[in-house]
């Protein structure tokens, strides 16, 4: 038996020489959107520190950002799924955005549940705002208006759109979406212009947009309301604590079947990047202060918990 165990150990040792020298070449870091957005900026900010980490370990490689926009992020995810699981192709994912096919039970060209989750690099909670010069000052104002609420949004699979659907369905209020805006900044501005009644932005963006005090902050769906928005309600305050779990995760994963050794090494590199003082300083300055660095197992559990929460509302997204 001991002999068998020793042979097995020897076998494992011989079977993984390539993993010991990971990374062997440049790492492709896939960004599922075009240059310039929040996912792109955060990824590009992490990359130099990842390279610094690998350089310290004697690996003189580059981490190359690859923007692959298309089909609401599905194009990139399909590409990453098909890549060799050797750690040289990883991607930043938007949860629940990339989980729409899992949530709705449709075929999205890739299986989100099979990805090898490396770490979570961000979590964003949602803030509900209306125009400060408009008629809606409170949640009751919105609920009591005698028509469906008009909500400017990017598209049905945008995460903020999904969050809006869940919130207004839970509150039994009709929502009429106006799709086609290119970014959260654009649809937030559309609310100021009067195109729609309200906007749902992630916390960091909400703080940026509201610097000039243009908006009423009505709700912050989080267990802890941000001190910058003292008058805001949260899910618990309006009798729906489950709404405080509706959030946006930024998670990094590799193709299905990546080995634990490589996954752990990538996790260490990303943890080093995320926790780097320079990145943290930038995150605070630009209101991107939601970065964290969960272990692979914790990231996996967080992703599945979030997807299953959204799955409960799958009828809204079909």
């Amino acid at each position: 038996m001991r002999l068998f165990a020793a042979m097995l150990a020897l076998g494992v040792a011989f079977a993984t020489p390539a993993q010991a020298s990971f990374p062997e070449k440049n790492i492709e870091f896939v960004i599922p959107y075009g240059p310039g957005g929040g996912f792109d900026t955060l990824t590009r900010k992490m990359i130099p520190f990842m390279e610094e980490y690998f350089a310290k370990k004697g690996a003189d490689i580059s981490v190359v950002p690859v923007n692959m926009p298309g089909a609401g992020g599905a194009k990139a995810a399909t590409y990453t799924t098909r890549a060799k699981p050797d750690g040289h192709t990883i991607q930043i994912f938007n949860i629940p955005g990339h989980g729409v096919s899992y949530i709705t039970g449709s075929d999205g060209g890739f299986d989100i549940t099979r990805m090898t989750w490396i770490t979570q690099v961000g979590v964003d909670t949602y803030v509900l705002m209306t125009s400060a010069s408009g008629p809606f000052k409170t949640l009751d104002n919105l609920i009591n208006v005698n028509r469906d609420l008009k909500i400017p949004e990017i598209g049905p699979s945008a995460t903020s759109s999904m969050a809006n659907s869940i919130v207004w369905s839970t509150l039994n209020k009709g929502a009429d979406f106006i799709y086609g805006y290119k970014s959260s900044q654009e649809y937030a501005t559309a609310v100021l212009r009067g195109d729609g009644d309200l906007t749902m932005a992630v916390l960091g963006s909400a703080k940026r947009y509201n610097k000039a005090g243009d908006y009423n902050v009505i709700a912050h769906f989080s267990e802890q309301i941000d001190p910058e928005f003292p008058g805001a309600l949260n899910g618990a305050a309006i009798g729906h604590p489950d709404l405080d779990a509706v959030n946006l995760l930024r998670v990094v994963a590799g193709p299905p079947g990546m080995s634990p050794e490589i996954t752990n090494e990538l996790h260490a590199a990303l943890k080093y990047a995320v926790e780097h003082p320079e990145l943290q300083k930038w995150a605070v300055e630009t209101q991107n202060n939601a970065v964290s660095s969960a272990t692979p197992a914790a990231a996996d559990a967080t992703v599945m918990r979030a997807l299953n929460l959204y799955k409960q509302f799958s009828h809204l997204f079909k």
Binding site: P35, G37, R44, K45, S157, T286
Partner: protein
């Protein structure tokens, strides 16, 4: 600190040796990326992002300003020499620029385009400075109804600019609209007309389509025709003197330059539609305000047809910075990348950037002005050498240009199917060319059709299914009046020309 002190500090920062180095580097990179078909400002900026991370915020912005201010200047060079617009806003320049090149006057056209670009760029920045206090109001004035009407105005402008070929131009525009329908639909999430190809999930890409439709088809045509691009003229006359003669023309036709710049800065500030619509509006207005006897010469090599769109499409750079800085809404793909550079360096675009980062904003403004002047100067000095390309025999020119065009198509996304698309559009463009259809409305339709579809849908949703909203707001009423004005102008010309023709025949 008062504004003058901030400007003085920004100016002294810009004159630091490293800052000047980055500025010149940006200009050179911008000129190279602008002149090569397929490679534009967006590609250049995206490639420079990793290098900019280690720089100070001001150096990074100076480098980027150098690139952004110089690509439209050199984009006109390919429009004039090869009938291939470097970017969609350069498309209007091909209308008279290429005929001038065929007459052996490429140097004159490049000189005029470069000077008009330089002047337009400076006027655009002056406009930006004047707009700083009211940027917010301007951006909030333009919503989906205004964008919808602007796209219609753009398509009418481009069709009018083709004169007698108005209907044929509309056919090509309709083809562009059909091509733009391919891919992911933003409301239904459906993938339209992709034929099961992953490549078409996001539709046909603008750059390979433009390269194919213009550069490849032009080279097929040149190969079939033989000889050189220049059908007349004397190569010995293509010298610095000819270029400098061209440089004087934007001042001689100062009202055209001023009007083009004003349209570029005003319309250019609108995200998405700005630059391309502005260039065609400037061109159409230049034709409309010309003496009746001169109108026939447009499309045949009238230098005013080069000055108007070039003044406009460089002036738009100042205008396009307005929504980018004031709201963080990028007006173009290039501005989207620039936005990420701002964020990477800790700046937060939005209403407060004008107060919190005003020092950097002034560095950006000054760097853009200096880069624009430098880019124009370099283009003017090298124009006579570049213009000689039009005298090179097709057997030499066609393989070289085709190689650059196809490499340009490939390099944008490292995608082989982009090369196939460029070749396919090249054949289609060649067929249109041979049948006498003006290809010019194709890029505009490709750019504007998705915006038209989106803004129409949004307008109907905002207006509860009624188009009455188009007449509720002052900006949309003004744009609607412009559309009616354009159509009346077309009808007047149509009826007048027929009457003149009838009297002549009688």
């Amino acid at each position: 600190m008062d504004t003058l002190a901030i400007i003085a500090t920004a100016w002294s920062d810009l004159l630091q040796p490293w800052s000047m180095f980055y500025l010149i580097l940006g200009v050179v990179i911008g000129l190279v990326f602008g002149v090569l078909p397929g490679l534009g400002g967006t590609t250049a900026l995206a490639l420079l992002i990793p290098f900019s991370i280690g720089m100070t915020a001001s150096d990074a912005i100076i480098l980027m300003a150098g690139v952004m201010a110089s690509t439209p200047t050199s984009g006109a060079v390919t429009a004039i020499l090869l009938n291939t617009p470097g970017t969609a806003p350069n498309a209007a320049t091909t209308l008279d620029g290429y005929p001038l090149a065929k007459q052996g006057k490429a140097g004159l056209a490049i000189g005029a385009a470069s000077m008009a670009s330089g002047v337009g760029g400076i006027l655009g920045i002056i406009f930006l400075i004047a707009m700083i206090p009211i940027t917010r109001e301007i951006v909030l004035m333009f919503g989906p109804p205004e964008f919808f009407l602007l796209t219609i105005l753009g398509l009418i402008s481009v069709s009018l600019s083709t004169g007698a070929k108005f209907l044929k131009s509309l056919v090509v525009g309709a083809f562009g609209v059909i091509v733009s329908c391919v891919g992911y639909h933003f409301v239904t999430g459906e993938i339209r007309f992709s034929g099961g190809l992953d490549y078409l999930w996001d539709g046909f890409k603008l750059v390979p389509a433009m390269i194919g439709f213009f550069a490849v088809s032009e080279m097929i045509n040149l190969w079939a025709k033989g000889g050189s691009i220049s059908e007349g003229g004397d190569m010995a006359k293509v010298n610095l003197k000819q270029v400098l003669q061209g440089c004087w023309l934007p001042f001689k036709h100062w009202s055209v330059t001023l009007r083009g710049s004003a349209i570029g800065t005003g319309v250019g500030a609108l995200p998405g539609v700005g630059g391309t619509v502005a260039a065609f509006m400037a061109y159409t207005l230049a034709v409309a305000s010309a003496k009746p006897a001169d109108r026939e010469s447009f499309g045949q090599g009238n230098i005013i047809g080069v000055i108007a769109p070039e003044a406009s499409n460089n002036a738009k750079e100042g205008g396009a910075l307005v929504p980018t800085l004031a709201f963080g809404i990028p007006g173009s793909a290039e501005m989207a990348v620039f936005l990420s550079v701002l964020v990477l360096h800790g700046m937060v675009p939005g209403p407060t950037i004008m107060t919190e980062s005003i020092d950097i904003i002034w560095i950006l403004i000054l760097a853009t002005v200096v880069s624009g002047i430098l880019a124009s100067a370099i283009t003017i000095l090298t124009a006579s050498s570049m213009a000689k390309l039009t005298f090179v025999d097709s057997k030499t020119l066609v393989p070289v240009v085709l190689a650059f065009a196809l490499i340009g198509s490939y390099s944008l996304n490292n995608e082989f199917l982009d090369v196939v698309a460029a070749l396919g559009f090249g054949v289609i463009g060649f067929i249109f060319m041979r049948l006498g259809f003006p290809r010019i409305s194709f890029p505009l339709a490709l750019v504007l059709a998705p915006i038209m579809e989106t803004s129409y849908y949004q307008t109907m949703k905002i207006g509860d299914g009624s188009l009455g909203i188009l007449f509720d707001r002052t900006p949309s009423i003004v744009i609607f009046a412009c559309i009616i004005g354009c159509l009346l102008y077309f009808l007047k010309g149509f009826v007048f020309d027929r009457n003149v023709a009838s009297s002549a025949n009688a």
